[in-house]
């Protein structure tokens, strides 16, 4: 009961701040709104019984990626207002229509999905580690560590002033 109420509160918070992300003029307020979205999503993951993913979302997304975004926005001194380009209104209408179509189609499919929560759901870190390091996903796990190394080297090389 209290879980359902908390879920709707966090869902409203997540959706509201997502709308602020795309609506705000200044990039830094969008970043703050995105942080709020990420934290409410983390709470929703906790309510769905996945404590490990909830904590990981806070550590990786809200605690690292968004700090990176904030750093770049502050250091590049991103300007206050965006110019309102009137010559792209055709594109904007098309974007709105297409997104609306996506919402209707996918919404119709999802509303017909039979999703009852399965009993005996165990998302403890122990079980998660057993799945992650099982032969099925171990190769992908090692590959992601190399991916991260590549992205570190790439980011440093791209952002350096003199190569």
């Amino acid at each position: 009961m209290i879980d359902a109420i908390l879920f709707y509160v966090f869902a409203a918070l997540a959706l509201g701040s997502a709308l602020v992300v795309i609506g705000q003029r200044h990039a830094i307020y969008s970043a703050f709104a995105l942080i709020v979205t990420l934290c409410s999503l983390s709470a929703i993951y906790g309510l769905l019984g996945s404590p490990f993913i909830a904590v990981l979302q806070l550590v990786v997304y809200a605690g690292a990626i968004m700090v990176l975004f904030l750093f770049v926005i502050m250091l590049l001194n991103v300007g206050r207002e965006e110019r309102e380009g009137g010559e792209r209104s055709g594109l904007k209408i098309a974007a709105g229509i297409l997104t609306g179509v996506l919402l209707l189609q996918a919404g119709a499919v999802l509303l017909q999905a039979v999703v009852a929560p399965a009993p005996g759901f165990d998302a403890s870190t122990h079980k998660m580690a057993q799945d992650l390091f099982s032969p099925r996903y171990l190769y992908a796990f090692e590959a992601t560590s190399i991916l991260i190394l590549a992205s570190i080297v790439g980011a440093v090389a791209l952002a350096k002033k003199d190569l």
């Binding site: 830094i28 703050f32 942080i35 934290c39 404590p51 490990f52 904590v55 990981l56 806070l58 550590v59 809200a62 605690g63 690292a64 700090v67 904030l70 750093f71 502050m74 250091l75 403890s124 870190t125």
Partner: protein, 333 residues
């Protein structure tokens, strides 16, 4: 219901410890510097924190005209909130029985306790960043960015130092890690995982921006760093956040490395009020070590600080993980 009572009790206890810490720090620093420190307000100056609080309350609230008002007001709230959130999952003593029930001196016994603390300290980076940016001043912006870069660099070393401890105990739950260290002081993780303990202590000092890593708020370097433009109660909240963070890392270090509430010798009792006494003594020792460092060491330069965090602490922590993992696999510890 019991949780609400625990929240109130632990919060009140922590605020009292915070007030005592400010007094103890000023007195102990003074003794180390061959002077007396505050000894006028009340016996031995013990009412000095109350006097400070009243003084700060009555100071004028200044908000810079060009500052971003809402973010400026929100930054100290974020700092204090993340400092307080970490307090909820730490155990403060052994479980004891009272009125026929088993009580835990812990607000929330999470299965992913240690990871949750890591998440909350990651979120603690935002306080200085928001404060520095919203004050609309070059000193504060630089101080805020330096502070957040320092905090998340040393967070990595902090987290890596815990991995060895978690591998030995086999669980993320802090209570399990404490119970793994029962038996004698040779079972404490500070002895079994000495490199990890050293890395933890150094990284924790840097994480809470204490001397010798307090360049973000270095008074002689950047005016006052990210809280230059803050006055009165908002400044007090930043100080409170710093002290609460310090208490949190001290309690966490005691739980993870110094055996928690277990006495170091098998013939000394460790349950009930004795366990709490041992715990309080160990936390006091760690806090004294923080104050001692403040009175002794000069400040690191910023490039030395970052180089030390990335090039020394992280490799040492990773090597410790490798060695511990090898030991666990080969000897089945």
């Amino acid at each position: 219901m019991a949780a609400a009572v625990k929240v109130v009790l632990i919060f009140a206890a922590l605020l009292t410890v915070f007030a005592l810490m400010t007094w103890a720090e000023r007195r102990l620093l003074a003794f180390m510097q061959f002077r007396l420190g505050p000894n006028r307000a009340g016996p031995l100056g013990i009412l000095q924190p109350a006097a400070d609080g009243i003084k700060l309350f009555f100071k004028e609230e200044v908000v810079p005209a060009a500052a971003n008002r809402w973010v400026f007001l929100a930054a100290p709230v974020v700092s204090v909130a993340t400092a307080v959130l970490a307090i909820g999952v730490l155990p403060y003593g052994p479980p004891f029985t009272l009125f026929g029930r088993q009580w835990q001196l812990q607000i929330a016994d999470l299965g992913v306790g240690v990871l949750y603390i890591f998440a909350v300290t990651s979120l603690g980076v935002y306080g200085p960043v928001l404060a520095g940016w919203s004050s609309n001043s070059k000193y504060t912006l630089l101080g805020g960015l330096r502070s957040s870069a320092q905090m998340f660099s040393y967070e990595l070393a902090l987290g890596l130092s815990w991995v060895g401890v978690i591998m030995l105990a086999g669980s993320f739950r802090i209570g399990d890690i404490v119970d793994h260290q029962a038996g004698g002081f040779w079972c404490w993780n500070a002895v079994v995982q000495l490199p990890a303990f050293i890395v933890y202590f150094v990284a924790a000092t840097a994480e809470v921006s204490r001397i010798p890593f307090d360049l973000p708020e270095g008074e002689t370097e950047l005016v006052a760093g990210f809280h230059t433009e803050y006055s009165s109660m908002k400044f007090a909240m930043f100080q409170m956040a710093e002290y609460l963070n310090m208490i949190t890392v001290a309690v966490l270090g005691t739980d993870l490395f110094l055996g928690g509430w277990h006495s170091g010798l098998p013939f000394l009792p460790s349950s009930g009020i004795w366990g709490f006494g041992w715990f309080a003594a160990k936390v006091g020792l760690v806090l004294f070590a923080f104050i001692w460092l403040r009175g002794t060491l000069p400040r690191f330069r910023y490039d030395q600080l970052m180089g030390f965090g990335w090039k020394v602490l992280i490799p040492v922590a990773v090597l410790n993980i490798l060695a511990t993992a090898a030991a666990v696999v080969l000897f089945g510890l």
